[in-house]
């Protein structure tokens, strides 16, 4: 039997860093501009107090995952290791503040708070400390998942919960995952630093196959840490690092233990926004759609919101079709709707399509353009009149004598070819059904 567990690192959406007031927008800022003596660990600097906004967001997540919030004072520990991205060569990481949660049938073991290190570009030898001190939570599950599908479903559900709580700093980054995998007869292997749900699925498939192959060959699977190589699609052993590791954990003397206020916990509990499973039930109840479609929409928060607004404007049936289609296109691109800029363009597209201003091929083409080109704006295109279409059909017939002779010889596929020519020539301004009708009329006149 396969057992899978996760450690999930989420960068929290807060204005400032965990222990100083530098902004967290490390992606947009010029390298090494969001820094101060504290997050660069200048000799003599001390951490400011713990950012309250971090505590609020972290507790919110813990409550949404049905965790118990511990009422003992929370200590921050120093985890020592030498690395260029870590200014003090120790990382501050809290003890668990929440335990014994559950999501999607998977038990949550604990959640704690950490600071992110800077970014180190090994090849260029460049370090950017803008990210140093950005708050993270680490969510640790029990090894309760037994298939890759279960693992994927759990992560998708978790991602949705985090999106509903609006706590992820950068939706396009999402979260980083360390996966623990073991199969019966072998030791537990940890695969580190997987950056997407899609990556987790690939890494798990690779790793499970590797374990099975090893066991089949009579080899032992040793307890080790491996690194997921996204580009090559393989895991690589980091074992030598693991055996030497002793982080010398010690409570940070500069940070007094933090007591999480029980009234804050209660306040957050009452302010909890609608969560994915609640929204799913509501969509089924209010719109009468089936459970599978409802869950599909709900798992992508923006998509669920879009569905509701489209259902009100264009009816449930149209909205379901539009959103399922959109979900398919997003899956193909491995993206969440939130990663698509200027999403009002999709509502505009729905207006054009359901208002009959564009044809289905144009709608499909526009949809893809919206997803791939942030500059593209859908506009209504005048459809060709029957007369214009007939003129074009005649021209196409005259220009393709081979296809015409094929047609005459009973080759019915020749019609499809000619329709394709018309569609291409008219750049989608022709309604395909009408084009076929007119083409057939013209062919019969020959």
């Amino acid at each position: 039997m396969v057992r899978i567990g996760f450690e999930i690192h989420v960068q929290l959406k807060t204005r400032s860093k965990l222990f100083c007031s530098c902004p967290t927008n490390f992606l947009e800022a010029e390298p090494n501009t969001n820094i101060c003596p504290i997050c660069t660990a200048q000799p003599g600097s001390k951490p400011d107090g713990i950012n309250e906004e971090v505590i609020r967001k972290a507790v919110l997540v813990a409550l949404a995952l049905n965790c118990k919030i511990l009422d003992r004072p929370l200590r921050f520990m120093r985890k020592h290791y030498f690395y260029p991205d870590l200014p003090s060569n120790y990382q501050r990481t809290s003890e668990p503040f929440a335990v014994e949660g559950e999501l999607n049938g998977v038990r949550i073991r604990e959640i704690h708070i950490e600071e992110d290190p800077g970014r180190y570009e090994l090849r260029e030898g460049i370090v950017d400390y803008n990210r140093s001190g950005v708050p993270l939570i680490e969510i640790v599950t029990e090894p309760d998942m037994t298939t890759v599908e279960e693992a994927r479903d759990f992560l998708k559900h978790l991602r949705a919960v985090l999106d509903y709580l609006d706590v992820i700093l950068y939706p396009e980054i999402g979260f980083r995952v360390d996966a623990n995998v073991s199969i019966e007869g072998g030791e537990r292997v940890e695969v580190k630093n997987i950056n997407s749900i899609h990556g987790v699925v690939r890494a798990l498939k690779y790793e499970i196959a590797r374990h099975k192959r090893m066991l089949a060959m009579g080899k032992k699977i040793v307890r080790e840490t491996r690194h997921w190589d996204e580009v090559r699609g393989v895991t690589v052993s980091l074992r030598e690092k693991e055996t030497a590791e002793d982080y010398r954990y010690m409570p940070d003397p500069d940070i007094p233990p933090y007591s999480i206020d029980s009234t804050l916990v209660e306040e957050l509990r009452t302010k909890m926004p609608e969560l994915p499973h609640q929204k799913r039930d509501r969509l089924i109840r209010d719109y009468g759609i089936d459970e599978s479609a409802a869950w599909t929409f709900v798992l992508d928060k923006e998509l669920g919101d879009l569905f509701e607004s489209l259902a009100k404007q264009f009816g449930v049936k149209n909205a379901v079709a539009f959103c399922l289609n959109l979900r398919g296109e997003l899956n193909y691109r491995d993206k969440y709707l939130a990663e698509i800029p200027r999403r009002e363009r999709l509502t505009k597209l729905a207006e054009l399509y359901f208002g009959g201003d564009i044809t289905k091929p144009v709608y499909v083409e526009y949809l893809r353009k919206i997803l791939d080109d942030p500059e593209f704006v859908p506009i209504a295109q005048e459809q060709l009149s029957d007369d214009e279409l007939r003129t074009i059909a005649r021209e196409i017939i005259a220009a393709n004598p081979q296809a015409i002779s094929d047609y005459k010889n009973g080759e019915k596929k020749a019609v499809n070819f000619l329709v394709g020519q018309i569609v291409a020539r008219t750049k989608g301004r022709a309604d395909p059904k009408k084009a076929i009708q007119i083409l057939r009329e013209e062919l019969q006149r020959l």
């Binding site: 660069t40 200048q42 000799p43 003599g44 400011d48 120093r78 120790y90 010398r248 500069d254 940070i255």
Partner: protein
């Protein structure tokens, strides 16, 4: 060594301008420092510019607490734009981009900063001999050590190169050089003075504090230095009435504690000096109480179990990559290893190795044990302070020793801290003041009190200065 009150008065009544006063100090500095080596970096230009500005303010009848008194700053406090070496090759060229809170307070209260003072490397030492910039000499007799680790602070105040000095105390680093140079040094209650900008030695023990020629100087300095700082989360939301109560010591209302466990094994002259102080307070009407400190032996081993691991953690950041001395090598590992090999002195390496060993996962129980021992010690002192208000002890078990005498014998060197570390482990205030002399070398006596009675200790020393006399043999 003119008394602080007099100097302050001369400046305030216009007898001397801050600039003229500064030039007097610079003259002494130029005469004495080549021999004493109390300064690592002199900031004469900054000081003169500051003095010119304060001249104007004072002329207009204004001025903040220090009115141009001249300060030296131990070189483990950050002053923006001026290098901070911590007495180490590792930070020989490190220039901090910010200013420490205590230094900011000195500047904004019209203290003139004459320079950054020599110290044992990263404040690790009790003799001033481990500095990469060479040993400081005792201001009373240059053949002797000045004590440490605030060695430059002790010597500079004693020689009159500065009026006041800012030091730091982790296990005795203010009181020890105060004792050896014959000046007053206060280790405040932990958290009373912000540590922001003080380079770490052991974070749960470190506290900044002043050295001065007299108790008045300490009170003047502490009124400015104390107070809550949001940038140091262990700092206390307390303010004590230092100057306001400096002359209100009433010996008849104070119970003085003595303990044989703090006197056994100390040098006879040091013991006699301590007893002289106790006799003085008794003669003025204080009740003398013998207190029992049964667990005091725990302090010494506990100090090392706490200090070593915290120090090793603090030193972790010095890898040659982000700060400090760098030796480029082929691998990351070698770069870090060789930078640390070259950048750190022997005592630093000793402490890092010990601290790393103690904090390894397999030894995790030791640090926890030490934290429990600290609680035991605190309870023991709290019990004692139910019976007495002040405990009197020697500051250092011996008078100053000669340069080179102990530098290669760490255990003997560490013994100098035996009577000062309990105050750090328990966070209580302790002050050292000159109370006697042996062969023209000063002997300091230490007063300890409950947390946040720092001002009472200062007023007791002030009372001794006015009413008492120095022991001499």
């Amino acid at each position: 060594m003119p008394m602080i009150e007099e100097t302050l008065e001369r400046i305030r009544n216009g007898e001397i301008t801050p600039s003229e006063h500064l030039e007097e100090k610079i003259e002494i500095l130029e005469r004495r420092d080549p021999e004493l080596n109390a300064f690592i970096t002199k900031t004469l230009d900054i000081a003169r510019e500051q003095a010119r500005q304060i001249d104007g303010v004072v002329r207009e009848g204004g001025g903040e607490a220090f009115y141009g008194l001249v300060w030296g700053i131990k070189d483990n406090f950050a002053l923006k734009g001026v290098r901070m070496t911590c007495g180490s090759k590792m930070l020989e060229n490190y220039v901090p981009p910010y200013t420490a809170t205590p230094v900011e307070k000195i500047l904004s209260n019209h203290g003139i900063i004459l320079g950054k003072l020599n110290m044992d490397e990263f404040a690790c030492g009790s003799s001033g001999e481990t500095s990469y910039f060479g040993p400081t000499k005792n201001a009373r007799n240059p053949e002797y050590v000045p004590g440490g680790s605030s060695s430059g602070a002790g010597a500079a105040v004693a020689a009159g190169m500065v009026d006041l000095a800012l030091g730091s105390d982790t296990g005795g680093s203010i009181r020890n050089p105060a004792s050896f140079n014959g000046v007053v040094g206060l280790k405040p209650t932990y958290g009373l003075v912000s540590r922001y900008g003080l380079a770490d030695l052991a974070m749960s023990l470190d506290v900044p504090g002043p050295l001065a020629p007299d108790a008045y100087g300490i009170a003047l300095a502490m009124d400015v230095l104390q107070g809550y700082d949001p940038r140091d989360r262990v700092s206390a939301k307390r303010k004590l009435p230092f100057l306001r109560s400096v002359d209100s010591f009433d010996p008849e209302r104070v119970r003085i504690g003595i303990s044989e466990s703090l006197l056994s094994g100390v040098d006879p002259a040091v013991r006699r000096t301590t007893e002289h102080v106790v006799n003085f307070f008794e003669s003025k009407g204080s009740e003398i109480v013998e207190v029992d400190l049964p667990d005091i032996w725990v302090a010494f081993p506990t100090y090392y179990l706490v200090m070593y691991p915290e120090f090793a953690s603090a030193m972790q950041k010095f890898d040659g990559i982000k700060f400090g001395h760098r030796v480029d090598a082929d691998t990351l590992y070698d770069t870090v290893a060789r930078s640390r090999e070259e950048g750190f002195g022997k005592e630093i390496k000793r402490r890092i190795i010990m601290g790393t060993f103690i904090s390894m996962a397999k030894n995790a129980e030791w640090y926890k044990l030490a934290l429990r021992a600290r609680t035991t010690l605190l309870q023991m002192f709290q019990n004692a302070f139910r019976k007495v208000d002040i405990i009197v002890s020697p500051t250092v078990p011996t008078p100053p020793f000669k340069l080179g005498e102990r530098v290669n014998d760490p255990v003997k060197m560490y013994m100098a801290d035996a009577l000062t570390v309990p105050a750090n482990l328990t966070g209580i205030p302790a002050i050292s003041f000159p109370a006697g002399w042996k062969d023209d070398l000063p002997i300091g006596v230490q007063l300890m009190g409950p947390r946040f009675t720092d001002h009472v200790l200062v007023s007791a020393v002030r009372f001794f200065e006015k009413e008492g006399s120095q022991w001499s043999e």
